[in-house]
Amino acid sequence: MLNARRLLAVVLALLVAFTSVLAAVPGAKAESMTTIEVYIGKNTGTVNGKTTTLEQGAVIKNGRTLVPLRFITEAMGATVAWDAVTRTANITLADNKIALTIDKTIAKVNDYDVALDAPAAIINGKTVVPVRFVAESMGATTAWDAALKKVTVQFSMDWLKDKAIVPFWEAMAAALGQSLTGLTKEFNATHPSMEVQLVQMANYNTLQTKTIGAIAAKDPPLIAQAYENWAAQYATGFYLSTFDSYINGANGLSKAEVADFFPKMWDSSKLADGKRYMMPFNKSNIVIYYNKDMFKEAGITRAPATWQEFADDCATLNKTNDKGEQIQWGASHTPSVDLWYSLVYAYGGRVLSDTYDNVLFANNNGVKAGTQLFADLYAKKFMHYTTAYGDQSDLGVGKAGMYMGSVVGRSYVEAAIGGKFELGEAPLPAGPAGQAAALYGTNIVMFGNAPKYTQRQKDAAWAYIKWFTSPHTQAVWAAQTGYLPARQSSLEDPVLIAAYQAKPETRSGLEQLSGSVLEPPTAGWNDARSKISANLQNIFLGKVTVADGLKKMALDVQAVIH
């Protein structure tokens, strides 16, 4: 028989076999679960239906429920080693270790420090520990029944082996990625039944096209970064889920916690229809970075406070050589929709109407004036027209005195500068109508309606998001990356206080937060952004006048927003 033919037959047979294997759906495994119940005020505890009397029952301290240590650990099958000298309980379950010290509000989970609202204590000679903390740190779930004043802990050893996987698609590169990875590692270590898996995309553009492709292929991630307008796009599919059930659920956010979010950020996580499809994740705004040495040399004493000052500074700082070639620019700028958006508001204009379906900037003199300012700077070559991160590198090599970039870009700018000169950072200049900075950066969305994800996975995703947006984590995140913390109480966290003290100018982004403007959370805005960008490029390259360019931009944008 012919070898090639046989080979072909084998290949085809393998193909059929593989495809049928792929089609097989893995069956659900039966889990051996332990259920533990304790009641506040009663001295009993129930394990899998069997009730035992406790010498010390569950109590509430500082709003947290404390339960007897021995009871909970034995019920879960963990071992406890008591260190009398330090008064520390060392709890071990599988590979996980928890160290709780009496009256200390910091505990250790798998080598990470975790802050407690209520520390372990000794009551009636018995050690009681915060139940939610202990349970979750060992991989269990807790639920609070307010009517019965009951805490239910559920646990299965299977959960430690078969962790709830949360695929998280993000585009945090370099230093940002390192920070995210570090924080995620900490979450995974302190929540042993959950595992958040970061999938890093090359850039935001790729993240969007990949997510769209994945949704279309019915294979989306569980959580992903998304701009508001992307979320609006994704919401047209089945898979995107809202967060309300989690916020109001058993492991949710209290009213105080919700109020603790910066209002602008909390608002930005809703879509135009009012549904909360997002949670804040990495919000930032644009600030102005400048070369302090160059400023000093030119006799400029501080960062420009108004856009007009900005233009004047550009004129002062620009230098040409005798051949007429530009050797130094006042500023470099890659035309950006977000900056122009801020500019519009600073000049008293509006981009879209409140219902997001009408263009308002077409004939606005403020908008024209602001745009003209930039156009003139480009035309006179006081400002260098750059693409991509060319503006950042210009500042870094000392060719431009200023550039507008995200608060988060600071580490990149510092790297580009390499210590050659002193870096300054300031809020965006104000226009005639005041100071306005667009709040941008992404939120997190959850594709909770995708059938491939189990409830355990979704609960784990929420646990991660809740943990990530908690005050301490946000403080660390902000301190490491420069992102704006989502929680107001993060400002009282020593980590963030120290970071701001070390580099006081990094508060610039925060200072602009209360006056920030939000971009439209509609799917049409995505299209509109590319129209605005295209038209801005035409205007700033000098191909059309500002008036004509804005007119065309208005027409283009009007055509795509719906």
Partner: protein, 281 residues
């Protein structure tokens, strides 16, 4: 009428001009590769110097180390190799069978089928991209290696080329084989295929090259990082590294070298295959 000496002189001058012209064009065409290598050996902080220097002052291999460590290149190479070899072997098999049938067997509907096959060349990949996405999704092959191999299991170019070769074989060969009692299959395997070896090599190289350099298709049909192919990975790398030209150049070099090396070994057959087989009217 020019004298003998004059025409010899002019001939010499002509030849000098000729070589000069070729050399200039050659340098222009090959320069980007030279530049790729030089840039990869330069430290990052000198890549944006103006004016750029043809020969760098400092040489360093650090970029190769950094670029290699920045992504799981070994995995990407493995994926690409696997996909390339698999699709090449399968498409060779299907193409040679089909080509032989078109060339040497008289069967009903042959002409119509062949026209159909040819017309495939008219349909651009862009047109069938989205519907193929749907088809792959329906088959459950999204983000699986099947999606990268099976759709390329047939090659119109291969069928076309091999058909030419088979058709150019004299009928006497087949008649002689028939007299010897050989079956069609036997003839195919022992006589026709070996004779078509140059074409087979060309097609194999072409298919391998196509897989190695594929970009749009894998971008759309896969999402997992552990299934990435080399070109897509390189583009992601570009997206990440932005202006770090020296690392980007290093990555470009080490993703290109394997294919260039392979080419050195097979260049003669490939070039002969293109030059000899594809031009018949």
């Amino acid at each position: 009428m020019t004298t003998m000496r004059q025409s010899v002189f002019w001939n010499r001058v002509n030849r000098v001009i000729l070589y000069l012209a070729i050399a200039v064009l050659f340098i222009l065409v090959v320069f980007p590769f030279y530049w790729m290598i030089v840039t990869s050996l330069q430290p990052q902080d000198s890549v944006m110097n103006v004016p750029p220097q043809l020969w760098p002052k400092h040489l360093t291999f650090q970029n190769y180390i950094d670029a290699w460590n920045a992504a799981p290149w070994l995995r990407y190479f493995g994926n690409t190799l696997f996909v390339a070899i698999a699709s090449t072997l399968i498409s060779l098999a299907t193409s040679s069978f089909a080509a032989f049938a078109f060339a040497c067997i008289n069967f009903k509907g042959k002409e119509a089928l062949f026209s159909l096959v040819l017309s495939v060349m008219m349909i651009p990949a862009a047109t069938t991209l989205i519907p193929n996405f749907l088809i792959i999704r329906t088959l459950g092959w999204y983000d699986k290696f099947y999606a990268l191999i099976i759709p390329f299991a047939a090659s119109v170019f291969g069928i076309f080329l091999l058909r030419q070769y088979f058709m150019s074989m004299p009928k006497e060969l087949w008649e002689a084989a028939q007299i010897d009692g050989a079956s069609r299959l036997r003839y195919f395997r022992s006589i026709a295929l070996p004779l078509a070896k140059p074409a087979i090599v060309t097609i194999a190289i072409n298919s391998f090259l196509g897989s190695w350099t594929s970009f749009l298709w894998p971008t759309v049909m896969t999402q997992s990082q552990n299934k990435q192919l080399i070109e897509v990975a390189l583009n992601s790398f570009l997206g990440e590294k932005g202006q770090q030209w020296s690392q980007l150049a290093a990555a470009s070099v080490f993703t290109t070298i394997p294919i260039v090396i392979l080419f050195f070994f097979v260049q003669r057959q490939f070039i002969e295959g293109i030059g000899g087989g594809g031009v018949k009217g």
